[in-house]
């Protein structure tokens, strides 16, 4: 394995500039190595501290990030993690998310270059999310919490700086989404009446996982009135049924993130997570007539002709292809709000567990610390 110091001797490995914070900010923005916000300068010393939590070869790529297909080596990812404001113990989770994004079903190439406003939503499950402080409570999808802000931002910076998802060149989003700065949450497993996402998917409860979704920003589901499962689910189905959603056309996996209070009400009426998915699959539908005349003719009659070629105008258009395609999590704190997160559509969610290089599940982030 090459040493960090030998890697830094390679041509182009180091950039030099004035160490004044404003000068660093100007320098990196001018180089296009930025998300537009100030960063922590990725000095060799800081990158080395980040790599203290890396049990891989620093120069061996863990992924190739399109559209440039840049080599995502730990040292490069660590530079972006420093810039984003990560603590070193966040670093294995940033790497894990990038490895998940690079799995083929996610369609990273398509999601990076598309005109659609999608970005990776990172959902963390298991004990390490809590250990490193990823917020799953009040304002879980919002600001303030360092781990949520910095881990999501580090992934986004890597997508730009390593993958060249540069607006107008490699990222063709028409208007994009503010979620492209960061979109990182943990599931509030303690407040959920159901199995957490990773257990539902077959991982052991003690595993720590990330699930990546090519997501739009969250759409709020406000329901202060319903006191039954049916009432809340009816409001959720109403929020899901939007004509401008890619999920009306493709078989992507959108997500409903229930607030704990909504989840408790639903479970209190005896509904399992599978029941919720089935309910929403059946009722989150729009009649085809709600789409434009051109949309009906071009999208449904021709492109989706196997389903809609001769379907009546009141034929239901579903927002998920199967009940199992709907991802259901519980996150956030007190309050009568949940969220619906549509997706790019032509993508599948990917879940990966955090493992040591010997293949064993990581139980505590401290296991990954070198020395």
């Amino acid at each position: 394995m090459s040493t960090l110091s030998s890697m830094l001797e390679a041509p182009g490995a180091l950039l030099e500039c004035d160490d004044d914070p404003e000068a660093v900010y100007e320098f990196l923005c001018a180089k296009g190595l930025s998300d537009g916000l100030p960063v922590i300068p990725p000095t060799p010393e800081r990158v080395e501290r980040m790599l203290a939590y890396c049990d891989r070869d620093f120069d061996k790529p863990v992924a190739q990030i399109p559209p440039r297909f840049g080599a995502a080596t730990p040292i490069r990812i660590a530079s972006n993690a420093v810039m984003a404001g990560c603590k070193p113990e966040y670093f294995p989770l940033v790497m894990l998310a990038i490895e998940a994004l690079a799995e083929e079903p996610y369609n990273l190439y398509g999601t990076q270059a598309t005109t659609h406003p999608c970005t990776p939503m990172l959902i963390f499950n298991g004990p390490i999310a809590n250990e490193v402080g990823i917020n799953a409570g009040q304002n879980a999808m919002g600001n303030y919490f360092r781990a949520n802000a910095a881990i999501g931002r580090a992934v986004r910076l890597a997508l730009v700086n390593i993958g060249a998802a540069i607006p107008g060149i490699g990222d063709m989003a028409t208007a994009g989404t503010p979620a492209k700065f960061t979109f990182c949450v943990a599931e509030n497993e303690a407040a959920s009446p159901w199995d957490p996402l990773h257990v539902e998917l077959g991982f052991p409860k003690e595993a720590s996982t990330v699930t990546v979704i090519a997501a739009e920003g969250p759409h709020n589901i406000n329901d202060h009135e319903s006191i039954t499962a049916e009432g809340i689910l009816m409001m959720a189905a109403g929020t899901m049924t939007i004509t401008g959603s890619n999920n009306a056309y493709y078989v992507g996996q959108p997500c409903v993130a229930f607030g704990p209070e909504h989840a408790q009400t639903i479970a209190g009426d005896g509904l399992s997570k599978a029941d919720v998915k089935k309910w929403l699959f059946e009722r989150a539908t729009l009649p085809m007539s709600r789409f434009s005349k051109e949309g009906i003719e071009r999208r449904f009659r021709r492109k989706l002709s196997d389903q809609y070629a001769s379907a009546p105008l009141d034929a239901p258009v579903r927002m998920v292809a199967t009940p199992e395609d709907l991802i259901v999590i519980v996150t956030g704190g007190a309050g009568k709000h949940s969220a619906y997160i549509p997706t790019f559509g032509n993508t599948r969610a990917v879940t990966r567990a955090l493992k040591r290089c010997d293949g064993e599940l990581v139980k505590s982030i401290a296991e990954l610390k070198r020395g």
């Binding site: 399109p66 559209p67 440039r68 297909f69 270059a113 060249a164 107008g168 060149i169 063709m172």
Partner: protein, 72 residues
Amino acid sequence: MAQLTKRGLIAAVVCSDTFMKLGSAQAKVFGVPDLPLLKIQHPLGGLNMDKVRERAAVALPQLLTLLKEQQS
């Protein structure tokens, strides 16, 4: 198209002007920096057939020129 080019076939990509930078960058990434891009006006999606024909009329001469150059 990159694969077809590497197999020795004449290949090109119809690309709207807005996407030329992406197309050019991707051709380099996929190892065919000289892959011809047939430039048309953006957009191509959401057009009626007359507008699509206009784009085709712009792309076709570029394709014919390419074929003549490649075969000569």
